[in-house]
C-alpha cells in the first residue's frame, strides 16, 4: 500500500511540475506582425540598397523611427483601422538633400486568438486593388521612391518581405 501511495505522490508532483507557465506572453510567440519593407536599387533591381537616415513617421504620430545603413525595415500598422499612412523622409538629417514621400497602406484586418497571456493578434491583408497609394509633399520635391512592389499581400509573419521599394 505504501508503494502505491508513494507512486501517487510522485505522479502528482510530476504532473504538477509539468504545468506550463502561461501568465506571460513570451517574446518568441508570434503576435501582431510588422510590415517588412526591403529596399532595392532602381538601376540594378536585383541588388538590395541601404537607406541613409531614413525617418519614417506615421502622420498622426509625433515621433519618427530612424533607419540608416540597412536595406530592410519593419514598421507597425494600425490595428484599429484599415489604413496606415506613413511619411518616408530620406536623408532626413540633411536640410538640403532631404526628400519626403508618403505611402498609404490599405488593408483588411483579421484578429486571431493567440493564447491566454497574449490575447489576440492582428494579421493584415493588403487590398488587391489599391494596396499602396504614393503621394508627394504639398511643395513637390520629386519622388525618391521610384517604384513600390507588393511581394506578399498577406502580412502574417515578420519572416518574409511584404513590400519592395526601389529607389
Amino acid at each position: 500500500m505504501k508503494k502505491i501511495q508513494l507512486l501517487f505522490i510522485c505522479l502528482f508532483s510530476i504532473t504538477f511540475s509539468s504545468c506550463e507557465k502561461d501568465d506571460i506572453c513570451e517574446a518568441t510567440t508570434p503576435t501582431t506582425p510588422k510590415l517588412v519593407i526591403e529596399f532595392y536599387d532602381i538601376l540594378n533591381p536585383t541588388v538590395k540598397k541601404n537607406v541613409t537616415n531614413l525617418a519614417v513617421k506615421e502622420l498622426n504620430t509625433a515621433t519618427s523611427i530612424s533607419f540608416t545603413g540597412s536595406s530592410k525595415i519593419q514598421i507597425p500598422l494600425r490595428t484599429s483601422q484599415d489604413l496606415t499612412k506613413y511619411s518616408f523622409i530620406l536623408n532626413s538629417t540633411d536640410a538640403t538633400l532631404d526628400n519626403e514621400d508618403f505611402l498609404q497602406f490599405n488593408y483588411t484586418r483579421q484578429n486571431l486568438f493567440v493564447s491566454r497571456a497574449c490575447g489576440f493578434k492582428t494579421n493584415f491583408i493588403l487590398n488587391s486593388t489599391t494596396p499602396i497609394i504614393k503621394t508627394e509633399t504639398l511643395i513637390p520635391d520629386g519622388y525618391w521612391i521610384q517604384n513600390v512592389v507588393i511581394a506578399n499581400s498577406n502580412i502574417t509573419t515578420e519572416n518574409e518581405t511584404h513590400v519592395k521599394i526601389y529607389f
Partner: protein
C-alpha cells in the same frame, strides 16, 4: 488572489503528502470493528462560499459516494458553474454543467469505531458548456502606436464539450455523527475538448482553468452526510492478514 490561491494550494499539497507518508498500517489488538455501509451525499462548500463573495462566480457542486467494499467507494460529483474570468488580455464567461464518476480507495486504517478516510481515487469527467468572449486586446510587440482600444465582442460559442480523467487525493473526517468534512485535490487531464473557432476553452466547468497543455488542477471542500444502510462486523482473521 491568484498568488494567494497558489500559495494555499501549495501548502495543502505539502500537508496532504505528509499525511499520506505518515500513514503506516500499525494495528495492534483491536476488537472486532463494526463497519457501516451506506451512501454519503453533500455539497462543495468552497463553491458556495465563492458564489457569495465573488460577483463573477456562481457555482454549485453536489458530491456523493456509496461504500461498495471495505475500502472501495463508488464516487461522483455533479455541478454547475458560471464564471467570468478577467485576464490581462481578455475577458470571458464560461457556463456549463458537469458530471464526474469514479471510485475512491480508502487507504486509512481507522482506529476503533472511527470512520475517517484518506483516499486516492479516479474520476471520469464530462462537461457541456458555452463560452462567451466578452472582450480582448490586440497584442502588439511594437509600442510605436498607443495600445489599440479593447475590442468588445460578446460572441457566444454554444454546445462545447470536454471529457477528462482525474486523479483524486483527498481526506474526509467525521466531525459529528455521520457528518463529514472533506478536502480533495485533483489532477486533471483532458481526453477530448471541442474548442470554439478562433478562441480556446480557458476554463471548463468541473475541470477548472486549463493550461497550455492538457493538464489542470482542481480541488473541493465538501460537507456531507452519511446515511448508513447496513452494518458488518469485520472478522479478526481479516485484520490479522492485513498486519502482515
Amino acid at each position: 488572489m491568484k498568488h494567494m490561491s497558489k500559495f494555499t494550494f501549495s501548502i495543502l499539497l505539502i500537508l496532504t503528502s505528509l499525511l499520506v507518508i505518515g500513514q503506516t498500517n500499525k494495528t495492534d489488538s483491536i476488537p472486532p470493528k463494526i463497519e457501516k455501509y451506506g451512501v454519503r451525499f453533500g455539497a462543495d462548500i468552497s463553491k458556495l462560499i465563492q458564489s457569495f463573495y465573488d460577483k463573477k462566480y456562481k457555482g454549485i457542486e453536489f458530491v456523493g459516494d456509496y461504500r461498495v467494499t471495505k475500502n472501495y467507494y463508488l464516487a461522483g460529483e455533479l455541478g454547475n458553474e458560471n464564471t467570468t474570468v478577467e485576464d490581462n488580455r481578455l475577458t470571458f464567461t464560461t457556463q456549463g454543467t458537469y458530471l464526474k464518476v469514479g471510485f475512491d480507495y480508502n487507504s486509512y486504517e481507522n482506529w476503533l469505531d472511527m470512520r475517517n478516510m484518506l483516499y486516492i481515487g479516479m474520476r471520469y469527467g464530462a462537461s457541456t458548456f458555452s463560452q462567451t468572449l466578452n472582450s480582448y486586446n490586440i497584442y502588439n510587440t511594437s509600442n510605436y502606436f498607443p495600445e489599440a482600444p479593447t475590442v468588445f465582442l460578446g460572441e457566444k460559442y454554444n454546445g462545447l464539450t470536454s471529457q477528462w480523467i482525474e486523479i483524486v487525493l483527498g481526506l474526509k473526517a467525521e466531525v459529528l455523527n455521520n457528518i463529514y468534512l472533506g478536502f480533495s485535490v485533483r489532477m486533471n487531464r483532458l481526453l477530448t475538448n471541442t474548442k470554439p473557432d478562433n478562441f480556446d476553452n480557458l476554463y471548463i466547468p468541473g475541470f477548472n482553468r486549463t493550461y497550455n497543455g492538457d493538464f489542470g488542477i482542481g480541488f473541493n471542500y465538501s460537507i456531507s452526510y452519511f446515511l448508513p444502510l447496513y452494518k458488518t462486523k469485520a472478522t479478526q482473521k481479516k485484520d490479522q492478514k492485513k498486519k502482515k
